[in-house]
Amino acid sequence: MEHTKHLWRVLFILLLVAVAVVVGRHFVIPPSFGLQGFYRYDSLAEYAAKPVMHGGSASCAACHQDIAQQREQGKHQTVSCEVCHAPLALHAKEGAKTADMPLNRSVGLCAYCHQALKARPATMPQIDLREHLTKLEVITAKDDIPEGACVTCHDVHNPAMEQESPPEGNVSDANAVPATQ
């Protein structure tokens, strides 16, 4: 048994490796890694903790009940407030107003949904804006489309018109959008 010391040497080296693995593992692998699979389980909680920006229409109705009711009765009832306005988080926090809600009265905002496009389902109410405005004699064929052209006649919260004609008098004064502040 004079050569057993070779065996001991090998065993000693193996033991060293085992210890190095156990100690190294502790520093390299983050806690919660492998609890549910080959990933860090704490990452889920980190995602869940991110801030919510959109509050939904119900959260708007808490303060702006009159406008919410208007919307509920009209054809825009399926359009969430924050689609045309901005996310709740930019306007209010825990029920208190933190900043003015930006208002977009541009033609482009309406055109997102109502510009006539071949790819849109036929059931969607859509118009060729220039044709619509010239037919109603709001503009002539040469004019540029004014920025607030749609909201001049339509109430954005309940947009259906009873009659297809522009209101009497100066159209720019007939801004139907009520102040929401």
Partner: protein, 276 residues
């Protein structure tokens, strides 16, 4: 002739001492190391137990009694309803702070002509809506296809992530561990749906999270919340009487690239064979 051996048979007292010392050293070192190993292993198992408790506490507190193993999220898109307004893309951008010109969800416009010309477009991902387009072709059908991560059951991106940063959560959401991702971009190349990108500032992989911070609180993803025509629907296959599960079970639905067997969990109503 007597030669002076460099190592005499009778070792000098110094040599003998050296031999003993080595043997003793090995013995003592082995004993010491095994002692250390036992201490470390004990410490490991002890620390492991306390970590598990900490994780359990964290998952319990992150959302009141939210258990990810009790949900399996699914998504349904109705192409026949989509008007291509881009509200979903803008909502996603606002909710998730998506950098400009990168998209976690986007809309493609397909225009199919009799000549078979490729007329598909997606200007700025549909974020700014679509303009009317004069093509000079005989368009026989046209439609919008919203796209997002399909949260595949057997997703290629998770399979090849070398560091375990991409994963599928117990509730069926493909996520990227932002602290673990090294930004190698393999997953971006692997995704057959083009749903991932490397974030231009953080340089790590970014993608749709199904608004994980919302759905764990019982809210809908921002894109579903924003859709004015209910073309996007969000459901939970584990919930009894779930509307989306019912629609998938009873209606004609399809998934994108079924030939790749990714187990996509975004279903489409009105899917046409031109959609890629």
């Amino acid at each position: 002739m007597q030669t002076q051996s460099p190592r005499p048979n009778n070792p000098s007292p110094e040599d003998a001492r050296a031999d003993v010392c080595r043997r003793d050293f090995v013995r003592q070192a082995a004993a010491a190391m095994s002692g250390v190993a036992i201490v470390v292993i004990m410490g490991e198992s002890g620390a492991g137990a306390s970590e598990e408790q900490a994780v359990g506490a964290a998952s319990a507190t992150r959302s009141s009694a939210y258990d990810p193993t009790k949900h399996r999220y699914i998504y349904l898109i109705d192409i026949t309803k989509c008007i291509g307004c881009g509200a979903c893309v803008r909502a996603c951008e606002a909710e998730n702070n998506v950098p400009p010109h990168y998209f976690r969800t986007w809309i493609e416009r397909y225009m199919v002509s009799r000549t078979g010309a490729d007329l598909t477009d997606s200007p700025n991902g549909g974020r700014d809506g679509f303009e009317p387009r004069v093509t000079g072709e005989d368009i026989t059908k046209a439609f919008f296809v919203p796209k997002l991560c399909n949260h595949c059951s057997y997703s290629p991106c998770v399979q090849l992530c070398p560091v375990g940063a991409s994963y599928r959560s117990p509730d069926g959401v493909i996520l990227v561990d932002e602290k673990r991702c090294i930004g190698c971009g393999y997953c971006v190349q692997a995704c057959p749906y083009g749903s991932r990108f490397l974030h231009p500032e953080t340089h790590i992989a970014s993608k749709c999270t199904l608004c994980y911070h919302r759905i764990t609180k019982g809210l809908k993803p921002a894109c579903v919340e924003a859709c004015p025509v209910e073309a996007r629907k969000f459901g939970d296959a584990e919930k009894v009487g779930d509307e989306v599960s019912e629609l998938i079970a009873t209606k004609a639905v399809g998934i994108l690239k079924p030939e790749l067997h990714t187990g996509a969990n975004c279903y489409y109503v009105g899917l046409s064979q031109e959609v890629r």
